[in-house]
């Protein structure tokens, strides 16, 4: 309905292959970015930043990373939390052990640590598929849970693996206030989302999807399964690792291994399923959904004067997530992102139904 595409013809492949080929989409995304970068920092409250926006951005980033592995390359992972933890503890170690280590460098090194571990645990994917691979990633989860709890070296010998960071700054600008934290996360997320999109629309992205959709056919046209799968693991765990750094450094400040437990892994997987497998946008939808639903369940009954205990709310959240997972897998395996694109298609064809 809002689309006016007449005259938006493409006279070059560069124009045809841009990320948002339709003018109205470019305007919309521009407006969204303007709101996120300018309007929100002006009016957002501390609660909004701390409880909603910052966790949303970071989890969206993690889901983005996971989606590359699961949604684009079709390799399942139940150990996302582990890769986040590796990122977080990796960056922590670089930060405390090397004097003057800048935050961004620590963050990227944290991501690289996660990449190494990710590739290591991804190696089994060359021989095993599906359920068996899920096992390998679970092994990563349990192993890192244990390692950060029990191996003192990783946590600078702090008790129970609990560590903290303080006085973060980027290029001399302190990342202390909620707005600063928010903006820092926003920039990181935008940069990674763009790079992820670029990868998925290039040769490597097509290789991932080819492996996902039909691995034998992919091999027959010359795609090396090992390269495709391991790069997916590497890219995915790098992004997830960076998200882990943000989660620990920016969101939590002080944390222990439990922050990256198997529950976190499942939560991220759910985001990807609900948000939409194989879609950059889906990661954001999924994260928003999973952040917002519990808050709504907490608030809405109160507005109607129905008190729900915290426990009941959390059980309800479990049930709703569980039911939604099944629902989406049955009805729309490509999740909210697919619903969004269907809606968009409807708008483009409006008033016609098809």
């Amino acid at each position: 309905m809002l689309y006016r595409e007449n005259g938006q013809f493409k006279t070059s492949y560069a124009a045809d292959q841009q990320i948002f080929p339709i003018l109205q989409d470019r305007v919309a995304i521009g407006a969204l970015l303007a709101i996120a970068f300018v309007i929100v920092p002006m009016f957002g409250s501390e609660y909004i930043f701390r409880a909603i926006l910052i966790p949303f951005l970071i989890l969206a980033l993690a889901a983005l990373g996971l989606n590359i592995l699961v949604g684009y390359c079709g390799q399942i992972s139940l150990g996302t939390g582990a890769f986040m933890a590796v990122g977080a503890y990796g960056a922590y170690n670089f930060l405390v052990r090397i004097d003057g280590m800048p935050l961004i460098a620590a963050m990227l090194l944290g991501g690289l640590s996660a990449t190494v571990i990710g590739v290591l645990f991804g190696i089994p994917s060359l021989r095993i598929k599906g359920l068996y691979l899920a096992m390998a990633t679970l092994a990563a989860q349990f192993f890192t849970d244990w390692a950060f709890l029990r191996i003192g070296w990783f946590t600078n010998n702090s008790t129970s693996g609990s560590v903290s960071v303080a006085k973060l700054n980027v290029f001399g600008l302190p990342i202390e206030s909620p707005v600063a934290k928010y903006l820092f996360c926003l920039v990181v997320v935008c940069v990674f989302a763009l790079m992820a999109k670029n990868l998925t629309r290039s040769a490597i992205g097509r290789q991932w999807m080819a492996i996902r959709d039909m691995d034998v056919a992919a091999a027959v046209i010359g795609i090396r399964p090992m390269y495709a799968k391991l790069t997916a693991f590497a890219v995915s765990s790098f992004i997830v690792g960076v998200a882990g750094v943000l989660w620990a450094f920016i969101h939590l400040g002080a944390w222990e291994p439990a922050a990256f437990s198997i529950d976190r892994s499942f939560q991220l997987l759910f985001m990807v399923i609900i948000g939409g497998l194989g879609s950059i946008m889906g990661a954001f939808f999924g994260a928003a959904f999973i952040i917002v639903l519990p808050i709504l369940l907490d608030q809405v009954p109160q507005w109607f004067g129905i008190p729900l205990s915290t426990a009941t709310t959390s059980h309800l959240v479990h049930m709703i997530f569980g039911a939604l997972i099944v629902f989406f897998l049955i009805v729309e395996p490509h999740g909210l992102a697919k619903l969004w694109s269907i809606g968009k298609q409807k708008l483009r064809l409006w008033p016609f139904p098809h």
Partner: protein, 277 residues
């Protein structure tokens, strides 16, 4: 001017290679036997394929035709026998290595990448020719974009060749069967193979679609000089377009030769009358 690049290239190729002039043996299969556990899929099969020819493999269902193709491009590894490709004996063979040697194929049950568009499916066929690395691709700057565009141009020529312009951005899952078969051929062609293995490219098509597909196969063979190994059930088509035919039955070779010889081979007649084909 790009609109006739392909035609010009084809003409050049033709004058160089002589188009349909059949050349030397490029693929030589000697005494191939393949087993799955206790089941014998292929038994002691030998035949060869000459450059630029259209070589058909026929036989009743379950004769081992698809297994034969899978052996040729390295999906299955025969327990016995030798395979010589361009005079080199193959040792350890993985499917993606066949691709690097210029062997492309299509599948009996369409094996397209369902989640991708026609364009992306065919683009995937060019992956071996794409050289940029993953870091460049993440930035999508300069060289990467140039590379994407250069390959897009090639892919568009294939789309034009196969007359599938109207569906280039459609997800392949939404296409009718006949078009999917065409897209799969397009993906194989995108690799610019010297040898093309086609597994029942016309199965399930109506007469008109078969005619189109025949025309494409002949055009490919003719314009690009591509050697074609073809499995097909439609005897009319096979006899029309093949240079030589090999006949399999229960994993054994029962006939080999020009279409007319094979047509009159008694074993072949028996095999075909003996089954409900």
């Amino acid at each position: 001017m790009m609109m006739n690049d392909m035609a010009v290239a084809a003409q050049a190729a033709a004058s160089a290679s002589g188009g349909r002039r059949i050349g030397d043996v490029v693929l030589d299969l000697q005494n191939i036997s393949l087993r799955f556990g206790g089941v014998k899929a292929l038994t002691d099969i030998s035949f060869n394929v000459r450059e630029h020819e259209i070589r058909s493999i026929i036989g009743p269902n379950g004769a081992g035709k698809s297994s034969m193709l899978n052996v040729i491009n390295g999906v299955y590894h025969p327990q016995e026998g030798r395979i010589l490709f361009r005079g080199q004996e193959r040792r350890k063979m993985e499917p993606h290595m066949a691709a690097t040697q210029g062997i492309a194929r299509t599948f009996q049950n369409i094996a397209l990448f369902k989640g991708m568009s026609v364009l992306d499916n065919i683009m995937t066929g060019r992956n071996l020719k794409m050289k940029s690395n993953i870091f460049q691709q993440a930035l999508y700057w300069g060289a990467v974009q140039k590379e994407e565009i250069a390959h897009r141009e090639k892919v568009e020529e294939i789309i034009d060749f196969l007359e599938i312009q109207s569906v280039r951005k459609t997800p392949v899952g939404q296409l009718p069967y006949g078009l999917q078969k065409r897209v799969e051929l397009g993906r194989a062609l995108a690799a610019e193979p010297t040898m093309l293995l086609l597994d029942e490219p016309m199965a399930g098509m109506n007469v008109e679609e078969k005619q189109d597909m025949c025309r494409f196969i002949l055009d490919v063979n003719d314009q690009f000089g591509t050697t074609i190994v073809l499995i097909e059930h439609d005897m009319g088509v096979v006899m029309d377009i093949s240079d030589r035919v090999v006949v399999l039955d229960y994993g054994k070779k029962i006939g080999d030769g020009a279409p007319d010889e094979v047509r009159n081979n008694e074993d072949v007649i028996r095999a075909y009358l003996g089954t409900s084909h």
